[in-house]
Symmetry: C3
Subunit: 152 residues, 3 copies
Amino acid sequence: MTPEEKLREMGIELAEASSFHPAMAVGVVTGNLLYLSGTTPPNTPEQEWRGRVGETYSVEEGYQAARLCAIQQLAMAKSVLGDLGRVRRVVKVLGMVNCAPGFGEQPAVMHGFSELMHEVFGERGVHARSAVGLQGLPSNAPIEVETIFEIE
Amino acid sequence: MTPEEKLREMGIELAEASSFHPAMAVGVVTGNLLYLSGTTPPNTPEQEWRGRVGETYSVEEGYQAARLCAIQQLAMAKSVLGDLGRVRRVVKVLGMVNCAPGFGEQPAVMHGFSELMHEVFGERGVHARSAVGLQGLPSNAPIEVETIFEIE
Amino acid sequence: MTPEEKLREMGIELAEASSFHPAMAVGVVTGNLLYLSGTTPPNTPEQEWRGRVGETYSVEEGYQAARLCAIQQLAMAKSVLGDLGRVRRVVKVLGMVNCAPGFGEQPAVMHGFSELMHEVFGERGVHARSAVGLQGLPSNAPIEVETIFEIE
């Protein structure tokens, strides 16, 4: 099964991804690596993501936000690569959680990201990761994640 | 026009860059990648950069500090490479803004960095980026940025 | 002298390293690069590391915590590579210090990490680095560090 077929089976549709500034790219390919820009969970009319985990949001809500970041990173990878079948490995993930003072459950939040990558890519989705807590994020988003992929 | 000619045209002079600790390098080349150490805006007798954006500094002042970080990262790249003409691409930028609680305009601050790279390198200066908010930075600097370049 | 012999001479023993989640790896190799997951200082019955530097911990205690992170990253690298002699270069280090508001001595803390790498690998241990201050870390650890190595 291709990553796109797996996503369809999971009921996930990838949005179009584009850069919001002319000096920035959704992602840059160098050699066999794809470096993506960081992404926050997309806001929709039904759900605006603004606030800190451990304050505005619970760990479980943070997990859902992290999962949305994973879907958005896949949309960005697809917009650069054309085809997610070109992904050979999810290499490295930096998960940055906008969190309340004293909050220490960044890994439980970031599992929402990691588990989606694992579901979509199987063993090729197993990655190195750091999950850490930040003071603030763009538009007060609860989480931002950036990914490095190995591609063919 | 070479990057050095472009910088001259913009009236920008690159300082000498050196490491402040024997275990650390200004930058390390591996394969076709140059990883630079992070940099904060240089302090001068006229301007000491100490404080948070959204508190001590406005977004516009943060933008200027980010631009100074870009110039400093170019000075560091030049000290490693000898010649900025060896840069094939600005690949990935991590912009870390020392910010007040609730501050959410990290991207507007980091545009000061990104736009300078774009001016100097043109399309080769378009990069992947994350712009995030931190709790503290060395000597209470308002911003720190680290860059990965593809080189020849 | 090999890195393993040097560690033995320094009286340092590397623990077994393993991933705590099936979607995550201790480290991922891509081409000639090894990306490690971030690590916090290991807790023991004698020493639990919980708290912020500049508040719970002094700079000197943070330095010791950073040194323990370096030893743990070496344990992780060895578990991936089998043999630390395969390390050609410590390329890039991101040191994230869980710190009190206004704390600005992240570099002095991170020297504990950098100096150990320098001791073990000599010139090959000299690396690019950023040392920054975060709002929170997993289980309220005082520091988390992630490393990129060049390998053969």
